[in-house]
């Protein structure tokens, strides 16, 4: 880590979705507006060159948070500041465009994220055509673009001749390689990866995770990895943020967080993962399921499932202090 300061600073970031019924039905049924707070006041920073992992179960708001970080979704409140530019609020279009080039995204489903009617070469060349080949936005001729695409394909372990093929000619793992080639085509600094290996088999997952780490070393990338798979986070991330019901409840260095989880929810998650080391051993799973985010419990959102909950947990929401949001920590 080059200690050059944070590349991304997220502060007080929230997103509320309006999930009310259509106006007329709502008036007829005399229902009030209903809202869902998908992300509630998230604060964290990602340092240059590190991998920050966000983990949580479905509905915890991790994907919504990721989409706000890359600017695919406007925050309801709070800020995402990337390289000192506030993406959602800055009026400086040129600065925004420069930032957009420097961050890219890799999605979960390599079947949905590649246009089936485009040749692989065009898919990878699209960001080059949109943003130019380097920081100055230099335009590339056709031949130079083709050469660059070939170079990128080799970088991700495919063959330059694959540029002429269509996505359906590739397996899931190969498609994810194509998505990675597209993401690194315009020399980004920062890549947001939303469940990059969840759709892949374990042996293919290992190939993709190794590739992502190699590229990080070679190109000096910073990653934000969103996943529900704790083992993937353990392998990839330097620091981890744990989300529960829209709130970040614990952030820590990976080693420390896995060795000594501080929030009871983090501990529960780590205990719940079926692990090879557990072969044949009995264990007691925690009860309950994540509550409905439309109607979150008062106080600490985890208190109904928390084995250590005390009176204050039921009434007062714990502040996020010293990297953990728990009354007992």
């Amino acid at each position: 880590m080059s200690g050059a300061g944070p590349i991304v600073v997220v502060s007080g970031l929230s997103r509320v979705f309006d999930i009310s019924a259509p106006l007329l039905s709502r008036l007829l049924a005399r229902e009030p507006r209903r809202t869902l707070t998908a992300v509630d006041g998230a604060d964290f920073a990602i340092q240059r060159g590190e991998t920050f992992g966000l983990v949580g179960e479905s509905g915890s708001g991790k994907s919504t948070l990721a989409r706000m970080v890359v600017g695919l979704l406007k925050p309801t409140a709070g800020h995402v500041v990337i390289e000192r530019v506030d993406l959602a609020r800055s009026g400086d279009k040129a600065a925004q465009r420069a930032i957009r080039r420097r961050m890219q995204m890799i999605f979960q489903d390599p079947f949905g994220s590649l246009n089936p009617r485009w040749r692989v070469g065009d898919i990878i060349a699209e960001p080059i055509r949109a943003f130019g080949a380097d920081e100055a936005g230099a335009r590339l001729g056709r031949r130079a673009t083709r050469a660059r695409v070939g170079e990128l394909l080799e970088l991700v372990g495919l063959h330059p001749a694959d540029a002429r093929k269509f996505p359906h000619e590739f397996s899931g793992g190969q498609r994810q390689r194509i998505a990675i080639a597209r993401a690194i085509a315009v020399h980004p600094d920062f890549i947001v990866c939303d469940e990059p290996t969840s759709a892949l088999d374990v042996s293919i997952q290992a190939q993709i995770l190794n590739l992502m780490r190699d590229l990080q070393d070679r190109l000096g990338l910073t990653y934000l990895i969103i996943t529900h798979n704790l083992a993937v986070v353990r392998f990839m991330a330097n620091r981890v943020g744990v989300m529960y019901l829209g709130r970040l409840i614990e952030i820590g260095e990976t080693e420390a967080l896995f060795a000594r989880p501080r929030h009871p929810y983090t501990r529960m998650l780590l205990d719940a993962v079926p692990d090879l080391a557990m072969t044949g051993l009995p264990r007691t799973p925690v009860g309950g399921e994540p509550p409905n985010p439309i109607d979150p419990p008062p106080g600490c959102p985890f208190h109904p499932r928390c084995p250590q909950a005390i009176a204050i947990c039921r009434t007062e929401r714990p502040a996020f202090r010293d990297n953990v949001a728990c009354h007992l920590a």
Binding site: Q207, A231, V286
Partner: protein, 329 residues
């Protein structure tokens, strides 16, 4: 060993296509003893789900069994007429699929679905079937079952729905339950609950389980024995603890090493080069040979399952081992 509850012998399933038959399962043999949990693990396309479907007679055309036999309690069930097979499904073999919504009728109250199954298979009057249905819902951990029995599937969360499906699969007290990825659609904390529920309930009712999953961690915690599948064939079978600790087949070795764990943070994951062959391009000889780091001349010929103690591996490396070299094909 007592006589097996389920015995699959040299099962071969083909899909007829215009270009000739595709062999999807090739010489698959295994036994399940009464009350035993057999894990069937493999990556997508290995044929694990297909094996389950073949056993319960639900192969979709053009897929069909072209060779081998399936014995339930010593009786052949691989070519029974549909009406007879319907009697076996539910009564003697319970089924749990990945997505609980596909197993539950969204238009019927869950109590009616369970009661109907009990009535059909145990010829009980409606009232008694309903009482039993309530007891089953209680047993699978649905809170206040006498109230929830009249709820519809959509009124339950994913984890609760899977509990209902488990009740449905077990309510006719089958001797064998086939569970195909029963926890894959669930969050980790809920997955742990469902696994231990399935394990405890089947043990209490003395049912054997064929647990099909891609997740070695789930198998490691749940199963007594495991069968590892690759390209429509069994690569290795053995007691779970031994297979996890000391895999014999090079494919199993690669697979185990590729799984990231919570304990050690490695710099790189071991990876198996390439991907599993498509059905149309399964290499002659050992199907794993082109990706195998230990392949040698002999691998051009297809290896039988070679017994090593009470384990077996389809690999020439174990030819002529000192203990019990009876190569059962």
């Amino acid at each position: 060993m007592t006589s097996p509850l389920l015995s699959v012998r040299d099962l071969r399933v083909e899909f007829a296509t215009r270009k000739g038959p595709l062999v999807a399962l090739d010489g698959v043999s295994f036994d399940i003893a009464p009350g035993e949990v057999l894990g069937v693990v493999g990556e997508s396309g290995a044929g694990k789900s297909l094996t389950g479907l073949a056993i319960i007679g639900l192969l979709d055309p053009p897929g069909r069994i072209v060779g081998g036999e399936i014995l339930l309690d010593g009786e052949r069930i691989d070519h029974l007429p549909p009406a007879k097979m319907r009697n076996i499904r539910g009564r003697r073999v319970g089924i749990i699929f990945q997505d609980p919504m596909t197993s539950l009728n969204p238009l019927l109250r869950i109590g009616d679905q369970i009661a109907e199954t009990i009535m059909a298979h145990k010829s009980l009057p409606r009232k008694e079937a309903r009482t039993q249905a309530i007891a089953w819902l209680g047993e699978v951990g649905i809170p206040s079952p006498e109230k929830r029995i009249d709820a519809y599937p959509h009124e339950f969360s994913g984890g609760m729905r899977q509990r209902v499906v488990i009740a449905l699969a077990l309510c006719a007290e089958p001797a064998l339950v086939i569970a195909d990825e029963p926890t894959t659609a669930l969050d980790v904390s809920v997955q742990a609950q469902i696994i231990s529920l399935l394990k405890n309930l089947t043990r209490r009712h003395g049912a054997a389980v064929m647990l099909i999953t891609h997740d070695m961690g789930v198998i490691a915690e749940t199963a007594d024995r495991v069968a590892v599948m690759y390209a429509g064939r069994i690569a290795e079978t053995g007691e779970v603890r031994e297979v996890v600790r000391d895999p014999l087949h090079p494919y199993t070795q690669g697979l185990m090493a590729a799984i990231p764990t919570l304990e050690v943070s490695a710099r790189r994951l071991a990876q198996i080069p390439g991907a599993m062959p498509r059905l149309s391009a399964i290499p002659p000889g050992c199907a794993f040979a082109p990706r195998c780091p230990k392949a040698f001349a002999r691998c051009g010929e297809r290896p039988p399952l070679i017994a090593i103690g009470d384990r077996a591996a389809a690999c020439w490396l174990y030819e002529r081992t000192p203990i019990g070299a009876d190569a059962r094909a």
